[in-house]
């Protein structure tokens, strides 16, 4: 008798934790610095939004440096974060693609324009900085006031006096907010030229608007530095030698052909180490998403109810126990989806419903064996034990086969960037694993308990033989 209760306490604890996780508006975990938000993540197809697939714009057989691709992914991520979409996802898919998902984004055109933009190029006021300070900031990330809210006042304090030869305090320099004079949008053309003395230079031409801004700024700041910032990183900080009034200027420096060309390309195309093009976009309107969510929920409830009724009517006592197990299974699986978290897409929901079938399959396999043993005249306890023992190999092997398929589907989905396939395989695989647990641990413990408590004598009535 006592062993029946052995499993009961851990099961109850697990159920309580799971219910706490799926409780609406769960505050999340915040224990000793460990923070975790708990929420149901719904995919694009359920809440609406924009999905885009970016691909390296290089001939198909070119080898792409993994490092360059990772950098490109990071830069795209920075740009996406600028859009202010919560729960945006930027992921590398395979070795030449990047998936971008913007749930809730309703304006595909502007979102795609942000992705396509060649990087945010800014010309930033470095006046007041000493040459050493300018030098130490090169290739560092800085903050600018471009696009900031007005209430965020750019710091205007003059840099602290730094004695020559003393250490430059880089962190205080890079923590400041610098003023953006103009952006790359005012740049009309850029090219590499050679001077009369044969030195490489980068020549640029500005739009009329840019010319005005540049004329005002350069005439007031001769001798100061004007930094060129790309995606918040200082790529170059030339000194203003003379006012530029006609909107045409050259950047000189210790350039050889490669370095001048690199700068010109950065000015022209932005900082992406690999040119990217958008090869696929999907926009789902919020109404379609809501509709799909609602309908699949209804379908889930209807399907679930029928299955639960069937199990109870056909398998009687064990069926009812399986029903309890299957409801617990749904709670556990959903809690896992929220905890990990796994983004639920429409096929993901379908995968979850299907794995319910798999969860019941394990129960059904066991019950059929149990009934077989009972029919052959064995006592209940022995039949139960044998039912479990004999059903196990087929449960194990068949579920491993499903997990193999899931793994291959997942690989297929992630290399190709097909997030729907990925979501489906993930929910199905998790469902299969959780279902094995509920069938093997929970159904077993509860069934033992129920049989020992009720000690049913009438097999026809209780077991539906």
């Amino acid at each position: 008798m006592r062993s029946d209760y052995k499993y009961l306490i851990p099961i109850i604890i697990a159920v309580v934790i799971a219910i706490w996780i799926i409780w609406p508006n769960n505050p999340g975990i915040n224990i000793a610095g460990f923070q975790k938000e708990i929420e149901t993540r719904l995919g694009l197809d359920l809440v609406g939004g924009v999905q885009a697939l970016l691909e390296a714009d290089l001939p198909e057989n070119t080898a792409i440096e993994p490092e360059a691709m990772r950098t490109a992914t990071r830069i795209v991520e920075n740009r996406v974060n600028g859009l202010g979409v919560t729960e945006a996802v930027v992921q590398q898919a395979g070795d030449r693609r990047i998936v971008v998902e913007l749930p809730g984004e309703t304006d595909p055109e502007s979102a795609l324009a942000t992705l396509k933009q060649t990087g945010l190029l800014e010309f930033v006021d470095f006046s007041g900085l000493s040459p050493q300070e300018v030098y130490s900031l090169t290739n560092q990330e800085i903050q600018t006031d471009f696009g900031q809210d007005n209430n965020l006042v750019p710091s205007v304090e003059t840099p602290a006096d730094i004695g020559v030869g003393s250490e430059i305090d880089l962190s205080s320099l890079s923590n400041r907010v610098y003023h953006t004079v103009m952006t790359g949008a005012d740049l009309k053309s850029v090219q590499v030229v050679t001077s009369q003395t044969g030195e490489y230079q980068v020549a640029f031409e500005l739009t009329p608007n840019g010319s005005n801004i540049f004329r005002d700024f350069t005439s007031q700041n001769v001798g100061e530095s004007l930094a060129i910032i790309l995606d918040n990183k200082v790529i170059s900080a030339p000194v203003i030698n003379e006012p530029i009034t006609d909107g045409r200027g050259v950047i000189t420096g210790n350039f050889d052909y490669d370095t001048s060309n690199a700068l010109a390309i950065q000015l022209r195309y932005g900082s992406l180490p690999i040119p990217l093009k958008i090869v696929e976009t999907r926009t789902v309107g919020p109404t379609l998403g809501q509709d799909s969510l609602q309908k699949s929920l209804i379908a889930g409830v209807v399907g679930f109810t029928i299955v639960i009724l069937f199990m109870g009517l056909y398998y009687r006592l064990p069926g009812l126990v399986a029903d309890v197990a299957i409801i617990l299974y749904a709670i556990f699986a959903f809690a896992l989806f929220r905890f990990i978290p796994i983004t639920l897409t429409l096929p993901g929901v379908a995968g979850f419903l299907l794995s319910t079938g798999a969860a019941l399959d394990a129960n059904i396999l066991i019950f059929e064996r149990f009934k077989e043993e009972l029919r052959s005249g064995k006592p209940i306890q022995q039949s139960l034990l044998l039912g479990w023992k004999r059903a196990w190999p087929s449960i194990r092997d068949s579920n491993i086969a499903t997990l193999i398929t899931c793994a291959i589907l997942f690989w297929f989905g992630s290399t190709f960037g097909a997030t729907i396939v990925k979501g489906f395989s993930l929910t199905l695989a998790l469902g299969v694993i959780v279902s094995l647990f509920t069938a093997l641990v929970i159904t077993r413990a509860l069934l033992n308990l129920a049989i020992n408590t009720f000690k049913p004598k009438n097999f026809v009535k209780w077991y539906g033989i």
Binding site: E55, E60, P108, E109, L112, K116, I278, V279, E280, T281, R282, T283, V284, G285, L288, D291, Q294, K295, S296, I298, A299, G300, V302, G303, F304, I306, V307, F310, Y314, L346, P347, A350, L353, L354, T356, G357, A358, L360, D361, I364, L365, E368, P393, S394, D397, S398, A401, T402, I404, T405, C406, I408, L409, F412, F416, A418, I420, V421, F424, L428
Partner: protein, 313 residues
């Protein structure tokens, strides 16, 4: 229960062929004529689905005309049962869908609700197809290896893997055949969801076969003297109840609920899975297990002999 399934094995093969062949032929004919409704997932292109309200009720031809005015003349427009318009065209630049929707608002004097806009480049589409084929191939191979390993204790373990895979391809063919018929009659699109459905059918198909094979595995160590044919038949009958209950009563009910209530997006997906998984159960009993017997008896040696072959129907 005493049902003779194995004895009637050739009848089941004919039933399967009767389901597979018409759809397959239809599919090939449609493919040859270029009428196969491959979604933009495979061909590349742009799809715009919208709903109009508070204005004129345009005909699909009006939308085709509107596209033409913008300079796109390869659009196909469909109305759905939900009263929405689905336009499929070649790949459009990113700003074009926005323009089209603005034009619609003006021309039809209506509120336009965007349900979805999808653009897929042609290279991506080609790659999906290749990758999917590869995924199926790899899955089949790994599963054969696993089954051979799991059944290593009984003679000819390798056969079980091969028969499971043949039956799995049978399921795939049935799904393809049904989809071809569905796309001919109801205009189902062959899209990424169809691929997902197909891959799932493959996963569950193998699961089913293993359950039946497992019983053969178990029985072959209990009834060593029994002829193989009787043994297989006995195992099938023993697992019949489970097959019916799991597949028909639980999984199929779930999918039926999804197909009936799950919304338009999931409908072809759910029906494809429903048929595919049903077929998976059917083939694990009537194809996979019977193939084992045919292999054991080397029956193909009798197929082309006359009269004296007792096994053929």
């Amino acid at each position: 229960m005493n049902i003779d399934i194995i004895g009637k094995r050739y009848i089941f093969f004919i039933v399967s062929l009767a389901i597979i062949l018409p759809g397959l032929i239809l599919g090939v004919v449609m493919a040859v004529n270029g009428e196969l409704p491959l979604a933009i997932d495979f061909t590349g292109g742009t799809l715009i689905e919208i709903k109009l309200s508070n204005g004129q009720e345009p005909q699909p031809a009006d939308i085709v005309l509107l596209y033409k005015e913008i300079g796109i003349d390869d659009v196909k427009v469909q109305t759905t049962s939900q009263g929405t318009f689905v336009s499929r065209s070649s790949l459009l630049a990113e700003d074009v869908p926005g323009k089209i929707i603005e034009e619609m608002k003006k021309k039809f004097d209506a509120d336009v609700t965007i349900l979805r806009i999808e653009s897929v480049g042609p290279t991506v589409g080609r790659e999906v197809t290749q990758r999917a084929a590869l995924a199926v191939g790899v899955a089949a191979f790994v599963v054969v290896l696993y089954i051979t390993f799991a059944f290593r204790g009984i003679p000819n373990a390798f056969r079980y893997g091969i028969c499971a895979i043949i039956a799995m391809f049978h399921d795939v063919l049935v799904v393809i055949s049904i989809t071809a018929i569905g796309s001919y009659i109801w205009g189902w699109q062959i899209d990424a969801l169809f691929l997902t459905a197909l891959l799932t059918v493959i996963g569950f198909s193998v699961q089913d076969k293993i359950v039946v094979f497992d019983r053969i595995r178990e029985n072959s160590s209990i009834y060593r003297r029994l002829p193989y044919e009787t043994l297989v038949n006995h195992s099938i009958v023993q697992t019949l109840q489970r097959s019916i209950n799991t597949q028909l009563m639980t999984v199929e009910f779930m999918l039926l609920a999804l197909a009936l209530f799950g919304g338009v997006t999931l409908q072809p997906f759910s029906w494809t899975m429903l048929i595919g998984l049903f077929c998976g159960t059917y083939s694990s009993i009537f194809i996979a297990a019977t193939l084992l017997v045919i292999w054991e008896n080397h029956e193909w040696q009798n197929w082309f002999r006359r009269k004296e072959s007792p096994a053929t129907v």
